[in-house]
């Protein structure tokens, strides 16, 4: 290295050092913008205790309305159905309407024109089963009946007599382990062919039977029930598939569509309980409407930590399935004060889970004090004026109309000591944070 090169290098070196130092400075300066502040070691000695002072109170007579209304889910509004076979305790059947049967054509392979359907092979009704609903322990048979009638077949009393042996058009027995997803019930070929050729409607009623009281949940919302059959032995021709469809009443397509599949309660629906008893669940699908008169200060001016609806549970008036665990939901009513129609209020509800209200599991035969936690609902109410959302909830079974099991509670008309009440724990407004 020459002397000149050394001089050049010695002149450049400090610049590189200083530039590097400047770069390091900027990097560290940027790093200084992030931090880790959280500490626990110094507490409690070096920390201020910011714990809130909690107050606890129990509000009695806080319910201004407590009413039981049955008939849920609203008939035909549901897509999922429970077939129930528990004798007088509960008998629920399902009707599928295939009103668009007939009139189809198909094309043979290599043919240039369509052919009319003259044959029907291997007709089956398919529907999906909700296996999470309950595990079957014994074989179960599903019977299919031709329930087509010129009578008003939306009425239970008109349909029930049609579930008789001479109208049996299909049946299948399934081992409990075989019921996993979708079931197929073979239907009488002659019946389907006759209706298909004639362009007549096919209306099928399903009921189950087994060696023990059983139930089967049809998940119609996931998989539309359908009828399938082949029109020729040639497997190149696709299978004909007809989804449940109703064309009656003919003058109202919206209502007709509600009747494409629907349940009929044959037995087990109980009348409303006495006025001193609240009911949730059962074959009749009872819901309890509760409207509170909560002091405004507890919603608007303090921070509620706990809001427990305390209910005194009574042994269920229904003996059947009273050892089953029932999950009940507390759904908030979303209607404003201007809505006063109870049936409408019962339908204008939101899911409790959306506002952080958990379901509660209870056993119908049990008795004692039960708690439904509503604290998160109180906090939602705080953000919504009472004019926009009345302070009311609806207690309902998670799976309505699918079990005889019914939960009963003491109502406001019952003994005062057992009447529903609210236990509130709250934090009054406070100042905090100054050292």
């Amino acid at each position: 290295m020459t002397k000149e090169e050394v001089l050049v290098l010695s002149n450049r070196l400090p610049n590189w050092i200083l530039k590097g130092a400047l770069g390091a400075f900027l990097s560290l300066a940027l790093a200084a913008c992030s931090e880790n502040l959280t500490g626990a070691l110094g507490c409690p000695e070096l920390c201020q205790d910011q714990s809130a002072l909690l107050r606890d109170t129990t509000l009695t007579g806080v319910l201004v309305v407590d009413t039981v209304v049955s008939g849920f889910p609203v008939q035909n509004a549901a897509k999922d159905f429970t077939l129930l076979s528990q004798g007088a305790d509960g008998d629920i059947r399902v009707v599928f309407r295939f009103d668009t049967l007939g009139g189809e054509t198909f094309r043979h392979p290599n043919a240039s024109v369509d052919s009319a359907v003259t044959r029907v092979l291997d007709p089956q009704i398919h529907f999906s089963v909700d296996t999470s609903y309950g595990k079957l322990t014994a074989p179960l048979t599903v019977d299919a009946y031709d329930v087509d009638t010129t009578a008003a077949d939306s009425l239970t009393q008109a349909l029930v007599p049609l579930f008789r042996p001479d109208r049996l058009i299909g049946s299948a027995t399934f081992a409990s382990i075989a019921i996993t997803d979708t079931l197929a019930i073979p239907i009488d070929t002659a019946i389907v062919r006759a209706k298909a050729v004639a362009g007549a409607r096919l209306r099928v009623g399903l009921r189950i039977r087994g060696t023990s009281p059983d139930r089967l949940r049809i998940a119609g919302s996931n998989y539309v029930p359908r009828l399938t059959y082949r029109v020729t032995p040639d497997t190149i021709v696709p299978t004909d598939t007809i989804a449940v469809t109703s064309r009656t009443p003919s003058d109202n397509a919206a209502i007709a569509s509600l009747y494409s599949a629907y349940a009929i309660i044959v037995a087990g629906a109980l009348p409303a309980p006495a006025s001193d008893v609240l009911a949730v669940g059962g074959i009749s699908g009872a819901r309890t409407f509760l409207r509170f008169n909560v002091p405004a200060i507890l919603i608007d001016s303090v921070q509620v930590v706990r809001a427990s609806l305390l209910l005194t549970q009574l042994p269920s008036r229904v003996q059947a399935r009273n050892a089953d665990t029932i999950a009940i939901l507390a759904n908030p009513v979303l209607a404003g004060a201007q809505v006063t129609d109870l049936n409408l209020l019962l339908q204008l509800t939101g899911a409790g889970s959306l506002v952080g209200v958990d379901s509660v599991r209870m056993v119908p035969k049990d008795a004692g004090l039960r708690s439904v936690e509503l604290v998160n609902l109180f906090r939602v109410w705080r953000g919504i004026g009472e004019a926009n959302s009345i302070r009311a909830i609806v207690l309902r079974a998670k799976q309505e109309g699918s079990s005889p099991a019914e939960l009963n509670f003491v109502s406001n008309d019952g003994p005062a000591a057992q009447a529903p009440r609210l236990q509130i724990t709250y934090v009054p407004r406070r100042g905090f944070g100054l050292p």
């Binding site: 560290l28 604290v375 050292p435």
Partner: protein, 384 residues
């Protein structure tokens, strides 16, 4: 909060970054209304803070604005790496980002200078988390409590410095002492099924003012002396439009002496008396506040040439009692400081670096905590 935001924005816009500022409580150093950063520049901190009354970038003495000798912008960043140790061996580390000082000086006339500085007066940002138990009716419930404070009390100083002769500099300044703490307290119950968490948010603001005046005297080329005094006016804490409490901004008197007989070198000693107890009444009655001395010695000497650049080498030490202690003990802080500085770009860009080792200890032995920290201070000066 305003001060904190202003300072932060000033620095981080320059860095093309948006930082969050804060300190941790649950430590020895940030009790009460927070940690007093001292309003000193990196250059002064490198010398233990002893030269701050002569330093144009620091905001302790308005007469020193004249030391800027022209117009300039100065920003400073100061990450701190803190370690809290509990007797018995447990320790906790925190990283705290600080942007404690930004200064703008302009030369109005040949012997008249104006300056605006935004500095952290008391920093109170922290987050603590602890387990506690609370009783509802007759049931004890375990909770996890988190308390967070974000914000600071800042000092915005607008000052003028006049140099009537070569051996004297005079300065006056007005201070707006303002800021805010955004506070959040949460209390989460272990039994979250029945009990919802308690969450409170509150913002308190601080508003106060002060006036300060200072003088620097030079005895030839040998010695320099500086005196400054800040007279605090009223200071209040507000929540929204409501004044919660009122007290006063602390007065402060600082005295400095320096030997400048060697070219490019300053050997200085400084002490400052802070009447922190004038803040009594802003917080709770039980808040322990101590009037304290803040004393430092240090040297800022001309170092070696690196290429065409001249290095300044600095070292010093500082002793003080922190204003906000514990109910059973005051907190002492000692720092050992060292720093470097140089000019780049033909003197238009100044870069200063300082390393600070702080030891904070309670006076009383009954407090089972010790705290130490490494702070890196970086200052950049830009002259047009």
């Amino acid at each position: 909060m305003m001060q904190r935001a202003l300072t932060s924005s000033f620095v981080c816009l320059a860095l093309l970054s948006l930082p969050a500022l804060g300190r941790a409580q649950g430590t020895l150093s940030t009790q009460g209304f927070g940690y007093p950063t001292g309003e000193m520049s990196t250059r002064a901190l490198g010398a233990g803070g002893s030269t701050s009354d002569f330093d144009a970038f620091s905001s302790t003495n308005p007469a020193s604005i004249a030391a800027s000798l022209g117009s300039m912008v100065y920003v400073q960043v100061e990450p701190e790496y803190r370690n809290l140790t509990k007797d018995g061996g447990n320790s906790q580390r925190n990283v705290i980002a600080r942007h404690p000082l930004a200064t703008l000086s302009v030369q109005i006339r040949p012997n008249l200078f104006g300056g605006v500085s935004v500095s952290n007066f008391l920093d109170r940002s922290f987050e603590t988390q602890e387990r506690r138990s609370t009783v509802i009716a007759d049931t004890a419930l375990a909770t996890t409590n988190t308390f967070k404070s974000d914000g600071a009390i800042g000092d915005t100083r607008v000052g003028l410095a006049w140099t009537p002769t070569s051996w004297v500099r005079l300065g006056v300044a007005g201070h707006v002492i303002s800021g805010s703490n955004r506070l959040r307290s949460t209390e989460a119950f272990d039994d979250s099924t029945r009990f919802a968490a308690i969450a409170d948010t509150q913002t308190v603001t601080y508003v106060g003012s002060a006036l300060s005046a200072g003088v620097q005297l030079f005895a030839g080329q040998v010695a320099a002396f500086a005196v400054s005094y800040r007279k605090g006016n009223s200071m209040s804490v507000k929540h929204q439009d409501t004044t919660l409490t009122t007290a006063s901004v602390p007065n402060a008197l600082s005295l400095s002496a320096a030997f400048i007989g060697i070219k490019g070198t300053m050997l200085a000693v400084r002490t400052q008396r802070n009447d922190w107890t004038r803040m009594e009444g802003l917080g709770s009655d039980s808040l322990p506040i101590t009037n304290s001395w803040d004393t430092s010695v240090g040297a800022d000497v001309l170092g070696p040439h690196v290429g065409s650049h001249v290095l300044q080498i600095r070292a010093g030490g500082r002793w003080r009692t922190l204003p906000f202690g514990l109910s059973n003990s005051e907190i002492k802080e000692k720092t050992f400081n060292a720093g470097l500085g140089t000019l780049l770009a033909g003197g238009r860009l100044g870069v200063d670096v300082a390393g600070i080792r702080a030891i904070r200890t309670p006076v009383s032995n009954v407090v089972p905590f010790r705290e130490s920290a490494w702070t890196m201070s970086f200052g950049v000066t830009v002259r047009p």
